[in-house]
């Protein structure tokens, strides 16, 4: 940490340096604060508590996926198959239970196991076969789509049983969505896991320098595989909530999940270089993305302007975070 280069930087201490330092730690909070402020002024309906709760509810699926995605990107992985996974899980839930409440428990068990298996499959491809994770997960995505089609032959059978439906659309005390509670609970658990346990330290170590981590005695491959499996289970949970939300199996949907979740994680401060980033940042990033979509619909933008605005804003937000490239 104390190299000659660092010392020189601290000595400089200009305002630009301070600003960047503050922004990189707290930037995401500033962004969301500004977003809420501006949208509240432009259209007060956006900040109506009922709408805000709706936004949180709609963020729970992508939010849980972002937890896994953060862990992956932290350790130089990525998973673009999450959309196809969620769709497949929904089909499984409907197909296994056929709506029967008595089958709920076994359905959830199978679904979580399948999630872990898919996660591990992605992991083996990325870690053992050393295929670029971006590419590998794309291959898994197309494979899952094929499996979904084959399994259903186009007519997806069944429906979501009541307990899982409650996960998706149920509310505590008539206003707090159960899905939000699940999401926040998982976010807190994993945030603590990352920041306060040895496992968390290993994750950051592997991300910043896998070779050094390996030399230091960390079982890099095994940890990365574990992270892939965990991410798969998290995606399966998101899939359960998704299934609860829809209530019925579909072959389409979730196409925006992989790229939006990656964008959310990047906006939240995690970088592709690995080793840097926090769960809370990704959670806020996810909220920003969903909030934006909600806001743009409420102010009545036609679809053409909406996707232009979304593209521009993502570019802007990520740029504010990662900044200009320097060629020293």
């Amino acid at each position: 940490m104390n190299s000659i280069y660092n010392k020189t930087e601290i000595k400089r201490n200009n305002t630009k340096g301070v600003f960047v330092k503050i922004f990189s730690s707290y930037g995401i909070y500033i962004v969301i604060f500004l977003l809420v402020l501006i949208s509240g002024i432009v259209s007060p309906k956006t900040v109506d508590p009922k709408n805000l709760i709706e936004i949180l509810k709609n963020t729970s699926v992508i939010g849980i996926i972002c937890i896994g995605q953060t862990l992956l990107i932290l350790t130089r992985g990525i998973d673009l198959s999450v959309g196809a996974q969620v769709v497949f899980i929904n089909i499984l839930v409907a197909g296994i239970s056929l709506g029967d409440p008595k089958k709920t428990f076994i359905t959830i068990l199978i679904v979580l196991a399948v999630g872990a298996i898919i996660g591990l499959f992605n992991g083996v491809i990325a870690v053992k076969l050393k295929i670029e994770p971006l590419l590998g997960s794309l291959g898994v995505m197309t494979l899952l789509q094929g499996i979904s089609f084959l399994y259903t032959k186009g007519f997806a059978k069944g429906s979501t049983p009541p307990f899982i439906r409650a996960m998706g659309i149920g509310r505590f005390f008539n206003f707090l969505p159960i899905s939000v509670v699940i999401w926040i609970f998982l976010a807190i658990v994993f945030s603590l896991l990352l920041s306060r346990t040895i496992f968390g330290r290993y994750v950051y170590a592997i991300g910043s320098n896998p070779k050094a981590a390996g030399i230091a005695g960390i079982k890099v491959d095994r940890t990365r595989l574990l992270i892939y499996a965990v991410s798969g289970v998290l995606t399966a949970i998101a899939g359960l909530i998704w299934s609860g939300f829809l209530g019925t199996p579909t072959l389409t949907g979730g196409q925006y999940l992989p790229l939006d979740s990656v964008a959310a994680v990047i906006i939240g401060g995690t970088t592709f270089a690995g080793g840097k980033g926090r769960i809370i940042g990704s959670m806020i990033g996810a909220v920003i993305i969903v909030y934006l979509s909600n806001f743009l619909t409420i102010i009545g933008l036609g679809i053409e302007w909406k996707i232009i605005a979304q593209g521009l804003i993502i570019l802007l937000l990520v740029f504010i975070y990662v900044g200009r490239k320097s060629y020293k």
């Binding site: 709706e54 709506g99 069944g158 829809l246 909600n294 409420i298 036609g302």
Partner: protein
Amino acid sequence: MKKILIGFLVIVVAVSIVLIGAGCNGQAAETTTASQEKFTIGYDIYYEGNVWSLQMVEEFKYHLQQEYSDMVKEVFYTSSGYDVTKQLNNFDDLVAKGCDIIFIQPLDPTALVDKIKEATDAGIYVIVFAIGMEGEDFTAYVNCDEVQMGQVKGEWMVEQLNEKGQVVPMNGIAGTQTCIDIANGWNSVFEKYPDIEVLPEVFTDWDYAKTKIEMTNVLQAYPDLSGVVSYDDPGAIAEAFMEANHAWMPITWEDENRAMRIWKENKDKGLKAIVQTKPAWISYDALKVGMAVLKGEPYEKMNIIPATVITEDEIDKYYKPDLPDQVYCLTTLPNDVLEELVGKVAQ
């Protein structure tokens, strides 16, 4: 050596998958009298991830088997997955396989014009159905008039609202001809009533989750909303209403079984709906025309079918409580065939 072995294995696996698949799709119909002329039939499925599209295929297959099996030498099915280029390629492939007649739902109003003309010039019959297109060189056309359907929906909404109110249009995929036509239809009606405010069109890509989320957003943004005119899944729209605990209002409806159930349960609670839609049996109508062509019988080139209507008092005539949600109620298929396709409802 190892490399060659792996390569060989891969090829064996790939070819076996193909052969299994080919084997599984055998469809030569039974032959009866040798004197009857038999035809090769081609059918392109415009999208296989959509139950409505697949139910159309099943209606087609069922009636082909029941009523025309003695005329069929072979039937080939291709699927386009919403991809225009793939559909063009599929059309070429069906022609190459020697189809005498091709049934197609064009994904693009102009892309197939020249290709269809080439085919009909060469003596291949082309029946365009369920989706509109430009040009006239097809052998026959079977469709509902989507502009008229949009107008009918618009007029119903205006009547329900007593010519005054705020309406949100929910539509499918921006840029597709179906959605453009139907929007033109209802917009042409709404224009005539200055007290009807039409909100910006919401596109949901016919995706259930997106429909539900967008409807929720709209309900939040427009507290004065008085009606929903849509070409979308009413089940998703209804769930948005129910979860937001929002009062019901006039909503244009479709014939999906789940939607029919929700309608039945809520029609006395303020939900005003009507189904004015293109039924899945339109493929059967197309089949009838196509077979008439093959038999040399007289047929109509342009078959514009009026939208099928289901009013509130007719719900029970069509709703199928024993069948799962995904089925479309306007169907000519007997219940046991539907059950086999979509499974039974869990008891």
